[in-house]
Symmetry: C2
Subunit: 352 residues, 2 copies
């Protein structure tokens, strides 16, 4: 017997390429093209580095207080983690312990499958409809829990709150997780529903609309009961996950609401312009309420477009998977970046 027999073997998630060269246009991992709020810079500049010798506040209460104040909920309704990946993985561990399979769409954030494998949670992937929509009736069956993003990724499609509520209401015997990483770009959050349904967990992040992917901050809203269980698991895992600079910078970001709303507005405007240009070039795509567009061209294969863009220093995301292998997921960058993208597409289409 070798020690290798006792090792947990997992197929690791492959994250979007993080090219290290400079002077590229990076539209492949849904990052925000604008910097974080100015207050974040001030916090880092004036950070009392001597305080780093001390453990951080395990409750990260400066973040939960700021979020509670901003979203008008109690601090006890909020859980904070190292990015929404950390929050959702802890939620899988905490809430998905049934023998019945959890349910999520077959086209969605690919980490769900990885977490289910990692935590040995049985799961069933529910096919999206032909036009990439979630069919609520598919989720009215015996299951061990439900998770999907709204807007969904990589499609960008937002499902309205009535449908979300119906799914949550018909599944009161399990926890339903709505992953709202992209909610600030057009959709309406399910947050108010946590008052009515104690089995609902709503997860959000600082990585997209708050331009802080490099800081790793995610959070969840839920009933005090759900948040309590989640905290118990977190505290038994690692009491001190949010480091001191993260806590201070998150607070500064939340406090600058004008900048936050302005950033979201700019991205939505650029998305609309990009949609218009893409349409003119022969692309089709579902209506996006996220900071990306999921598009295919009526003549040229996605893989060809991907490679041609890369030659021009433009990176977008491609998934070599059934049903979506002719689509590109294009992050909304600055207006200039999108103009460069459209120009590149024009060239490629002319040449092919």
């Amino acid at each position: 017997m070798s020690f290798e027999d006792k090792i947990r073997k997992v197929v690791p998630y492959v994250p979007g390429e993080q090219p290290k060269q400079k002077n590229i246009i990076k539209l492949n991992t849904n990052e925000c093209p604008y910097p974080p709020a100015q207050g974040v810079q001030e916090k880092l500049k004036n950070f009392r580095y001597e305080d780093l010798r001390l453990y951080p506040d395990p409750d990260a209460s400066d973040i939960t207080k700021a979020l509670a104040n901003y979203y008008k909920v109690d601090e006890d309704n909020i859980f904070v983690g190292v990015g929404s990946d950390d929050v959702i993985s802890m939620a899988f561990m905490t809430f998905f312990n049934s023998k019945s399979p959890i349910l999520f769409p077959n086209i969605t954030y690919s980490f769900y499958e990885v977490w289910a494998d990692l935590h040995k949670v049985p799961y069933k992937k529910i096919p999206l409809t032909d036009d990439f929509r979630i069919k609520k009736e598919d989720y009215f069956v015996e299951n061990g829990g439900i998770i999907f993003p709204n807007p969904n990724a990589p499609t960008g499609i937002y499902e309205d709150l009535d449908m979300i509520e119906e799914i949550v209401a018909k599944n009161s015997d399990v926890v339903v997780i709505i992953d709202e990483a992209y909610i600030d770009f057009g959709g309406t959050s399910a947050l108010p529903l946590i008052e009515k349904y104690d089995n609902l967990l709503v997860v959000q992040t600082f990585s997209k609309s708050r331009a802080m992917a490099g800081m790793r901050i995610g959070f969840a809203f839920g009933s005090k009961k759900l948040i309590g269980y989640l905290k118990d698991v977190k505290f038994s895992f690692n009491s001190y996950t949010m480091n001191r600079p993260s806590i201070e910078c998150a607070k500064a970001s939340i406090e600058d609401d004008v900048y936050f709303k302005d950033t979201c507005k700019k991205i939505i405007k650029t998305r609309q312009n990009t949609e218009d240009s893409l349409k003119n070039l022969g692309f089709t795509f579902p209506k996006s309420e996220a900071n990306f567009i999921f598009a295919k061209h009526d003549k040229i294969k996605a893989k060809v477009l991907l490679d041609e863009l890369k030659k021009r220093g433009i990176f977008v995301r491609y998934f070599d998977k059934d049903r979506i292998d002719n689509y590109l997921r294009i992050t909304i960058g600055t207006d200039d970046e999108m103009k460069a993208l459209i120009k590149a597409f024009e060239e490629i289409i002319k040449e092919n």
Copy 2:
């Protein structure tokens, strides 16, 4: 059936008190009394906050490169995480999947039991000898893995490398984890043994000797095989755990070796002086090779001392547990802090 039936219920670890009032002497969580290296301050002050919009390097390769260079190992021998708690918890998940119980001392870091419960790993606690030593023969039995700190916590006792090597060698069919959180205060690291034994994982941290508990950085050394498995689990959990400021600051800390060695030397010197003073006051304690002393008084109960110290604004750690409920774990602070502690003890002893 309610969703609560499917919830993982754990007894959360209770971390050392983090008092929020100012002007106290905090000797209860083994933090470093000195600030981090000066370069850490520079990094924060000059941090390009615009870069926070981008995901961090998932490999944190600026840290692994700096560590590899400093400790003369390959980058592939190093794993980095959000504090050693994150590293060890991932190691439990990755390596301890046997039906045989893992083994650790009955008096040790109390998180081991919590992680075993969390990850559903069977375990057996092996009693320390009467003088709080690890008896190697106790670990020469069928088991699913082994973990203990060296120096041990909360005793501060260091076991020599011959013993560590024998335990690792006789357990080649399981993974043996040596938790070296306190190794820089007098012991010799088991690091060189990873070349000879591919079942050995050596874990260290930036929280103690590098004065960066507030930044959350831990790391492990092991064979390329072990580190590879650990990375697979980490990447399936959360690809981006180390945020951008952490990565830059860790690098700056490692690069200032003079400051690092000087800090350790100062703490060791203060520990020696404190030991002398405590002895004169009627305390006994095992020889410590850590940044704390585990002491009991020959007349006054630990609980009384604890409460009296607290009244004077001095916090030390007390464990209300069998065999150690008459001991205090006293972190080594600055010379001035230790003088204040000794003065307080003199007063309390006079009054009691």
